[in-house]
Amino acid sequence: MLNSNYLLVLFAFPFLATLIVSMVRGRGQAVTWVSIALALGYFIVVLLGLTVTELRYEATWFLPLGLKYGLYLDSYAYYLILLSSFLTLLALFYSRGVVEKKITAYHALFHALQATVVACLLCDDLVFFYVFWEAMLIPMYFIIGVWGGQRRLYATMKFFLYTFAGSLFMLLGLIAVYIYYYKATGVWTASFQTLMEYFQTNPMPVTVQSWIFLTFVLSFAIKVPLFPFHTWLPDAHVEAPTAGSVILAGILLKMGTYGLMRFAVPLFPEAAQAFAGPLCFLSVVGIILGALVAWQQTDIKKLIAYSSVSHLGFVTLGIFMMTETGWNGAYLQMINHGISTGALFLLVGFLYDQRHTRDISAYGGLAKILPMFTLILVVMTLSSVALPGTNGFVGEFLILLGSFQSNTASWIWVVLASVGVILGVIYMLHMIQKLCYGKPSKPEVETMTDLTWKEWVLYSPLVALVFFMGIYPIWFLGPIQEKTAGIFATIAPFLAK
C-alpha cells in the first residue's frame, strides 16, 4: 500500500527532473532521451497511485502564521496529475527532432511546468497554492516567448499579464479568507482542508462570501477562459509551439475549472448559488461565441483555440448549474478536452512541420494523400463533437443532463447550450472538408508524407482513450463520483431547492 511518502515522491519528482535535465551535457539527442525517460518514469510513478482514494502529508513550515507544508491527494487532483504526466510525455516525445533551438532549456521548462502544475494540484495550503499558481506562468511564458511563432512576444505578454492580473485579485481573496479565519478563531491557518471544515459549520455572511468568491472566480475565469476573458487564448495558442499548445489546452486551462470545483464553490456555496445565473449566462455565451467564431477562422490553430472556448463553456456551465451529475460530467469533460484537443494540436503540428503554414486553404484533398492522418483527425473530431461512443459524448451528456435538473439556475441555459451541439459539428466538419476533402489543390500537398511510427506511438494511446472512456467511462467516473458526492453533501444545504 502506498503511504504518504508517495505524495512526496509525486511532488518532488518533476522538480528533480527539471534539475537533471538542465544539467545534462552533450548533444541534443542525449537531453531529449533523458528528458523523455524522466517523463515516462514520472508517468509510471503516477500510475502507481491509481488505487489511491485519499492521501495526506503534513510537515510544519512556519507555524506562527499557520503555514504548513501540507500535501493532499484525492481523485480530483489525481486524474489531472495523471493527465498532465501523460500529455507532458507525449508533448516531449513529439518535440523530438522537431525543436532544434536551445533543446536543454526547452525540455527543462516543460518539466518545470509539470512541477508547478503538480505542486499546485497537490498542495493543501493556500499560500503554497498561490505561489505555484503564479509560478506556472513562468515556464509557459518562456515556452511561448522563445519557441513561439512570429507574434510570440505580443502573445506571451498578453497571456502573462492577463492571467497575472487576474491572480492578484485572488491573492486579495486569499488574504481575506486567511484573516477572516484568524479573527473568528484566533488561530492562523492556511490549510485548505481545515478552512473547508470550519466554514461548513460556520459559513461566512453572504456579502463577505460574495466578494471573496468574485475575486476567486475572476482569477479562475481568466484561466479557463470564460467569456469575456478569453481573448488571450487564441493569440497564445496560435503563437505557442505545438507542444506548448498541447499543455496549455490540455492542462493549464483545466487549472481554472479545477480551482472552481476545488476552492471557489465549496468554500463559498451561497455566493456561488447567488451568482449562478450570470455565470451560466457567460458560459453559454462562451459556448456559442466560441463555436461561431471558430467557424470563421482560416488559421487551423485559431479554430481549435476557439473550439476550446466553446468546450470549456460546457464545463463551466456544468459547474455553475451545481448538480452532482453535471459536476461528474464537467470533470470528465476536462480530461476529455485534454485528450481530444491535445490530439488535435498534435495533428495540426504534424501538418505544420511539413508545410510550415497553418492556413487552412494551403491544404485540401489530404484524405487522398494522408489517409491515416485523416482517419485520426476524424476520430478526434468525433470526440470533439461529442459523438456517442466517444469520450466527448459522456462528458457533454452528463453535463447537460445533470444541469437540466438543476434548481440553481434556469433550464433554458441548458437548451441554449445544446445549440452548441449543432454548432460544434458545423465548424469541425468545415475544417475536415477544407483540409481533407476535394482535390489536392497545391502541388506541395502531394509530396506530404503520411504517419510514421513516431506518430503512431503518439496517437494510438489517444485514440484508445477516446473509445475506452466513451464506452467504459465508469472506470474514471467511479472515483470521481465519490468525491463529487462528498462535496455536494457539504454544500447541498446552501443550494436552492
Partner: protein
C-alpha cells in the same frame, strides 16, 4: 440462467460482427484485395442476420439482455443492454436481411473502386449502428446508434470525397441531422426530469401507470416535440428534409440501404417505440399526422419534375416516409410499420434497379439520356416493373396492401384534409413512377454509351427483392380479405391502435373493398396518364417557367441559405471582428496602452539631473508646508 447467457452471446455476436468487420475491412482491405473484403463483408452480415433470426424464432419475448454499465446518472444509470421485442426484432430482421442483400449487390457495383475496402468498412459500421439503434433498451443507447448511422451516412455520402459537392452534401446531412438530434437530446433531458430514468421499458411502464401532475405533462409534451424534431431530422420530414435529396451523391447501394430502406425509417421506429408517451399528448400526434401528410404531398409534387433517376426516388422516399408518419400520427402504428417493411423491400429494389441502370450506362443518371433499356437490360427491367407496380399501389403487390391499410385508417379518421392529401399523393406517386419507368425502359435509347446488363451479384439481388416486394403483403393481409394480419398480431403487445373500425363485418368488408378498388384505380390512373404522356418522349420537357418552382424544390434550400446560414455566418463574423477584436481586445490593449502611455509621461520625471530632483524636493516641501499652514487650528 443457462439460456440467458447463451442468448447473450448470440446477441453480442449479431451486433459485434459488423463492428469487427468494419475495422477489418478498413485496415486490411487494401492488402488482401476485393475478394477477401467481398466474401468477408457479406458473410459477416449473413451471420449477423442468422443470429437475429435465431433469436427471432427461439426466444420468448420480450427479452432483455444486459451487458455492462455505461453512464452513471446519480441514483439511476444507463447500461449497454438490448431489448428484444417484436418492434425491435422486426426492424433488425429487415436491417440485417436487406442489408445482406445490398452488401452482396455492392460487391458487384463497387467492383474496381479504389476505396473498395473503405466502402465496406463504412457499410458494416452502418449496420452495427443501426442494430444499436433498434436493439438498445435505453434512450442514450438508441441515441448512440442514431448518431452512429448519421456518421456513416456522412462518411458514405462523401465517399467520393475528391468531388467537393459530395463532401458538402455529406456535411449538410450531418448538420441537418444534428438539428434533429438537438431535439432528441432535449427530449432525453425532459424525460429524465419526469421519470428519473432513461431505460425505455422503465419509462413506458411509468407512463402506463399514469398519474402525472400538470408540471410533468409540460415536460412530457416538450419531450414529445423534441422526439418529433429528432424523427423529422432522421426521416427527412418537413422542415428538415433538405438533406436527403443531396444525399444521393453517395454510391447507389448506400442510397438503397441507408437513404431508403433502413436509416431514414428510424424516425418512424422511434415514434412507435415511444408510442405510450405520445398517447399522453394526442395533439402532438396530430402534429405528426399533418407533418407526414404535408411532407408526402409536397415531396411528390417535386418528384414529378426531377430528371435525375435517383432524385425521383429520393423524393419518393421522403413522400413514402410521410405516409408512415401520417399513420403513426393517426394512431395506426401497425400500418406504419407494415409500410416501413414493404417500403424497405420495394424501395431498395427500385434504388438497386436504378443502380443497375446507372452501372449499365457508365454512371449516367439523367433519365432524358436513357430510354429503350427494356431489351438491353431485361432482368433489371422486369424487376423494376414489379417495384414500380408495388409502389404505385397495384394489387396484390405489397405496396398496395400496406398503403391501402394507411389509406383505410386515414379514411376512418374522417379528417378530409388528410384524406385529400393522402389520395392525391397516391395518384402522384403512380404518375411519377410511371414516368420514371417509361422514360427509362421504353421509347428510343437517347444515351451516349452502350448499355449492358449487370453482373449476377447485382441481378440476383434484384430478383430476390422483387419477389419480396411482390409477396410481402402476406405479412399483414387483412382479416377481411381472408388474411391473418400476422404482423398486427405480432406487434399487438407493444403498440396499440387508436382507430377502431367498429362496424358490422359485412359492411366493413364492403367499405374496405370499395376503398381498395378506389385506391387501385387511383394508382392505375396515374400509371396510365404517365404512359400516354411519356410514351413518345423526345428528351425535352418542362421548359415553361411555370414549372420552375417545382424543379427548384420550391427554393427551400435557397431560403434556408438566405435566412439561416448567411445570417449565422454574419453573426459569427460580427462576434469575431467586433465583439472579440474591437470591444474586448480594444479594452485590453487600451488599458495596456494607457499604462504604457502614463509611464512614458511619468518616466520623464526621472531625468537623472540632480538639480531637477532637488527642485522636486523643494516643491514637495513647499506643498507640505502649505498643507501644514492651511491645516493649523
Amino acid at each position: 440462467m443457462e439460456e440467458q447467457s447463451h442468448l447473450q452471446c448470440i446477441a453480442a455476436l449479431a451486433v459485434l460482427l459488423p463492428l469487427v468487420g468494419s475495422a477489418l475491412w478498413f485496415s486490411l482491405g487494401k492488402k488482401f484485395g476485393e475478394k477477401f473484403v467481398s466474401i468477408g463483408a457479406v458473410s459477416f452480415l449473413a451471420l449477423s442476420f442468422a443470429c437475429i433470426a435465431y433469436i427471432f424464432f427461439t426466444a420468448t419475448l420480450p427479452l432483455r439482455i444486459n451487458f455492462f454499465q455505461w453512464l452513471p446518472l446519480g441514483t439511476s444509470s444507463v447500461s449497454f443492454a438490448f431489448l428484444f421485442d417484436p418492434l425491435s426484432l422486426a426492424l433488425s430482421m429487415v436491417v440485417t436481411g436487406v442489408g445482406t442483400l445490398i452488401h452482396l449487390y455492392a460487391t458487384g457495383y463497387m467492383h474496381g473502386d479504389a476505396g473498395f475496402g473503405r466502402f465496406f468498412s463504412y457499410l458494416n459500421l452502418f449496420v452495427f449502428s443501426m442494430l444499436m439503434l433498434t436493439l438498445s433498451d435505453s434512450l442514450p443507447g438508441l441515441f448512440l446508434g442514431w448518431e452512429g448511422v448519421g456518421l456513416c451516412s456522412y462518411l458514405l455520402i462523401s465517399f467520393w470525397f475528391t468531388d467537393e459537392a459530395n463532401a458538402s452534401a455529406g456535411k449538410k446531412a450531418f448538420i441537418v441531422n444534428r438539428v434533429g438530434d438537438f431535439g432528441f437530446l432535449l427530449a432525453m433531458f425532459c424525460i429524465f426530469k419526469v421519470f428519473g430514468a432513461l431505460s425505455i421499458p422503465e419509462i413506458l411502464q411509468t407512463v402506463q401507470a399514469g398519474n402525472f401532475s400538470g408540471d410533468d405533462l409540460f415536460w412530457t409534451r416538450l419531450a414529445c416535440f423534441g422526439l418529433v424534431l429528432g424523427a423529422a431530422g432522421k426521416s427527412a420530414q418537413i422542415p428538415l428534409y433538405v438533406w436527403l435529396p443531396d444525399a444521393m451523391a453517395g454510391p447507389t447501394p448506400v442510397s438503397a440501404l441507408i437513404h431508403a430502406a433502413t436509416m431514414v425509417t428510424a424516425g418512424v421506429y422511434l415514434c412507435c417505440r415511444m408510442q405510450p408517451l405520445f398517447l399522453l399528448h394526442l395533439d402532438v400526434l396530430n402534429v405528426i399526422a399533418y407533418m407526414g401528410a404535408i411532407t408526402a404531398f409536397f415531396a411528390a409534387t417535386i418528384a414529378i419534375f426531377q430528371n435525375d433517376i435517383k432524385k425521383v426516388l429520393a423524393y419518393s422516399t421522403i413522400s413514402q416516409l410521410g405516409y408512415m408518419f401520417l399513420a403513426v400520427g393517426l394512431g395506426a402504428p401497425v400500418a406504419a410499420y407494415f409500410h416501413l417493411i414493404t417500403h424497405a423491400f420495394f424501395k431498395a429494389l427500385l434504388f438497386l434497379g436504378a443502380g443497375s441502370v446507372i452501372h449499365g450506362l457508365h454512371h449516367e443518371q439523367d433519365m432524358r439520356h436513357m430510354g429503350g433499356l427494356r431489351t438491353k437490360m431485361p432482368i433489371t427491367f422486369w424487376c423494376m416493373t414489379i417495384g414500380v407496380l408495388a409502389i404505385a399501389g397495384v394489387p396484390p403487390l405489397s405496396g398496395f396492401v400496406s398503403k391501402d391499410e394507411i389509406l383505410h385508417n386515414v379514411w376512418g379518421n374522417h379528417d378530409w384534409t388528410l384524406v385529400a392529401l393522402a389520395f392525391t399523393t397516391a395518384f402522384m406517386t403512380a404518375f411519377y413512377m410511371g414516368r420514371l419507368w417509361i422514360m427509362t425502359f421504353f421509347g428510343k435509347f437517347r444515351g451516349h454509351h452502350e448499355a449492358h446488363e449487370s453482373p449476377w451479384t447485382m441481378t440476383s439481388v434484384l430478383v430476390i427483392l422483387a419477389a419480396a416486394s411482390a409477396l410481402a403483403g402476406i405479412l399483414n393481409w387483412p382479416h377481411l380479405w381472408g388474411g391473418s394480419e400476422t404482423l398486427g398480431t405480432y406487434l399487438s403487445t407493444v403498440v396499440q391502435a387508436l382507430i377502431h373500425h367498429a362496424e358490422d363485418p359485412a359492411h366493413a368488408l364492403q367499405s374496405s373493398l370499395t376503398l381498395a378498388v378506389v385506391s387501385s384505380l387511383v394508382g392505375l390512373a396515374g400509371l396510365t396518364i404517365a404512359y400516354f404522356r411519356y410514351r413518345n418522349f423526345s428528351g425535352e420537357e418542362f421548359s415553361s417557367p411555370a414549372f420552375r418552382p417545382f424543379q427548384n424544390k420550391y427554393y427551400i434550400d435557397e431560403l434556408y441559405d438566405a435566412i439561416v446560414v448567411k445570417n449565422l455566418r454574419m453573426f459569427g463574423k460580427f462576434l469575431w471582428k467586433v465583439v472579440d477584436g474591437f470591444v474586448l481586445d480594444g479594452v485590453l490593449n487600451g488599458s495596456a496602452a494607457l499604462a504604457s502611455r502614463t509611464s512614458t509621461y511619468l518616466r520623464q520625471l526621472q531625468t537623472g539631473l540632480m538639480q531637477q530632483y532637488a527642485l522636486w524636493i523643494w516643491i514637495g516641501f513647499l506643498i507640505l508646508l502649505l498643507g501644514a499652514w492651511t491645516g493649523r487650528s
